[in-house]
Symmetry: C2
Subunit: 420 residues, 2 copies
């Protein structure tokens, strides 16, 4: 009766929100997984892999092409807001204070999977690379996609399992924070190289440098002044201040997008240069978090789900390759973190826990993979394999952690050794 | 460098937010107008009337066609969320308690401008109607567009001028609430008639009836139960409960859109059937209000601004007709409310204040006009005239109110006469 896409956009958002919340609760209650994993599964279920395969007519009604376009844009804007919130959570000072152990675990757990991923790229490139993509860019991207840890999902798992206040928990969280920040820098570099012309790379690097400099030396002091003024305020945050933060956030996103390194980086960096424990940050979180998490982020899972087609994997060879990806990703991330854990003096059990925790890829990996697909670095088939890898490594974390932890739990307190 | 519309969408949202907040502050500080009026002007300024006329190249860069499409959808979703919040504010019980005076003022202030508007339609129809629109629909629409009062803007003006706690303020607010609800019902009827085929009208009316019934007898009791559970909760509202409310809101919007009476009505009605002073309502407001008001609503003003072209009014005849619209709208609304005020026993001054307050059209009128333009009832030229009328009547409210009030202020307390 009505051809305005608004009706379909509203319906799609409603069903996506419903599916995400429902699956989130089911996964939490019956599988003891953090709800975000259920939400990701709900998104996949609404895509061609499940709903599209079982009831293509229903899927076409829920998400007709023109409505899907709008839902996709809402999802992208939602992830930009989400990345700002992730940046806002980042506590660089604590990570610094945790010292040597954190540093070693963070970089080992990036370097090992990155190198293994780049090696794996040798096998993947002839089979699954997008057309016209350079091998350097491809192998860098596979390397990054192996070394991502899902900082927000990790934080959630630590909280749900009670590992939060142990030294393993603290180390994992701060290592993931450093690791994530580094992985994003790497990815921004890859994105810059992948999207720019050969001559444009220099410009991209130059502008990206200028952008980072302006964040550190212009945005940070201004935001600090705003935060200081807000510290004395007893009233709730005014809409004017919130408006300023939104404008800065949107401009940072637009700027990085124009530069050629995705809007996500700009938003993340703006969040990261804000003092994460200021009253300002707290008030912003209180106002944005729920609407982003409940209404916008599930659209992103659905958007990812729409692009993931399990049906693209055909024959034993594809599935074997998928298995190989999972194994390499796990060996790299788990192995790297485990060795680093032993090296800094953790017990076998604690090192195992660190290893499995750092192997959580979750939402962050999906963001990285969507970027790769959009930039044309990976093909839809490889995208699907990597999404499966992300889901399985994330899904495995909680049960294996419980197994390793057993009934004993871990030593409480900060990381071993003095801070250096 | 980048052709993904995301960059332009983020940039457009940033500039719209910036312009809206900036103009809002300027209007408040220097013209003593409520900020929302400045925000509306900012939206118009970004459209073809100002920016498009002065710097068409800049306007095309800020809002290229494909990005404008997405910003338009974000604006529509934003207004749907906003109408839910407006419904949530609606206090039907208080209005009932205020009794006879409210009732008389509310319906006189709708009936008089409605009739005058329908008469004016006789003159407007041959000149400015869209092609193929029926005269009945056209005159009904002009009638409705004359009788709208901007409930949220009114509330804001009352608060800013301090008239809130006087009996005039109380009467104006509750009359506007009843009047608004009635005007929306009328408009839903017009929308149903306008968009449906002749045979479809019966279906539209039937489905609309079923929808209202399901809101009253299914949604209301369920929401009341949810609110009661939430009343005992000392924790902040959980994301699951917020998710349920979002799903209900989106489904209500989608349902009315499919029925053929805009999504706004569904969202508004869902808000209206919720207990406006429950803890649930309060927590929802706290989480949604700021992001809707700061980030989403300004897009709607910009979207309206993009469709308003002052340049479409050419020659003296167009401007005279525009003046006639302003005069008829004001006589109808001010005159009707004034007479009703005198009738229920208010003083001359108080009746004048009620009259000017009810003449505030603001944001609500813009929503109505956009609907009319979308349904093809009014032409872009008439749309522009009516937008100008809405702006001028809204803009005039605060200074004239201050003039009428003088130094004396108004009698405090509730409406005169016993409640019946």
């Amino acid at each position: 009766m009505n051809t305005d896409p608004l009706a379909h956009v509203l319906l799609a958002l409603a069903l996506i929100t419903l599916a995400a919340r429902g699956m989130g609760v089911l996964f939490q209650r019956f599988l003891r997984q953090p709800p975000v994993i259920g939400e990701i599964f709900a998104g996949l279920a609404l895509g061609p892999s499940l709903l599209g395969a079982v009831a293509p007519g229903l899927q076409a009604f829920i998400l007709p092409t023109d409505a899907a376009l709008f839902v996709g844009m809402i999802a992208k804007v939602g992830v930009v807001l989400f990345m700002f919130l992730v940046g806002l959570e980042l506590d660089v000072r604590t990570s610094k204070a945790q010292g040597r152990a954190t540093f070693i675990i963070a970089y080992t757990s990036i370097a090992v999977p990155f190198l293994l991923g780049a090696l794996l790229a040798l096998a993947l490139y002839p089979l699954y690379a997008s057309q016209d993509v350079d091998f350097t860019v491809f192998s860098l991207f596979i390397g990054v996609s192996m070394s991502v840890t899902a900082f927000p999902v990790l934080a959630r798992i630590l909280k749900d399992t009670g590992v939060q206040r142990t030294r393993v928990g603290g180390l994992a969280l701060s290592s993931a924070a450093i690791g994530d920040a580094s992985a994003w820098v790497l990815l921004a570099f890859v994105a810059g190289v992948a999207t720019a012309e050969v001559a444009g790379v220099a410009w991209t690097v130059l502008f990206a440098g200028l952008f980072v400099a302006s964040m550190l030396w212009v945005a940070r002091p201004l935001l600090r002044r705003l935060a200081e003024r807000e510290e004395k305020n007893t009233q709730p945050l005014s809409q004017s201040v919130l408006g300023i933060v939104f404008v800065a956030l949107l401009l940072a996103g637009a700027a990085t997008e124009f530069i050629g390194i995705h809007a996500l980086f700009g938003a993340f960096l703006l969040g990261a240069v804000m003092q994460h424990d200021s009253r300002l940050a707290e008030q912003i979180r209180a106002r944005m978090q729920d609407i982003v998490m409940v209404l916008l982020l599930p659209s992103f899972f659905a958007y990812t789900g729409m692009r993931t087609e399990v049906g693209l994997l055909q024959g034993a060879s594809d599935w074997l390759m998928c298995l190989a990806i999972i194994v390499v990703a796990t060996i790299g991330k788990f192995g790297g973190s485990f060795i680093a854990g032993r090296f800094v003096g953790l017990s076998w059990r604690e090192s195992g826990a660190i290893g499995i925790l750092m192997n959580t890829r979750g939402l962050m990996e999906l963001i990285v993979l969507n970027l790769g697909l959009e930039m044309g670095v990976i093909s839809p088939r490889l995208f699907t394999m990597l999404v499966i890898m992300a889901l399985i490594t994330t899904f495995a974390t909680t049960p294996i952690l419980n197994l390793i932890m057993g009934r004993h739990g871990f030593v409480e307190g900060p990381a071993p050794g003095p801070n250096v």
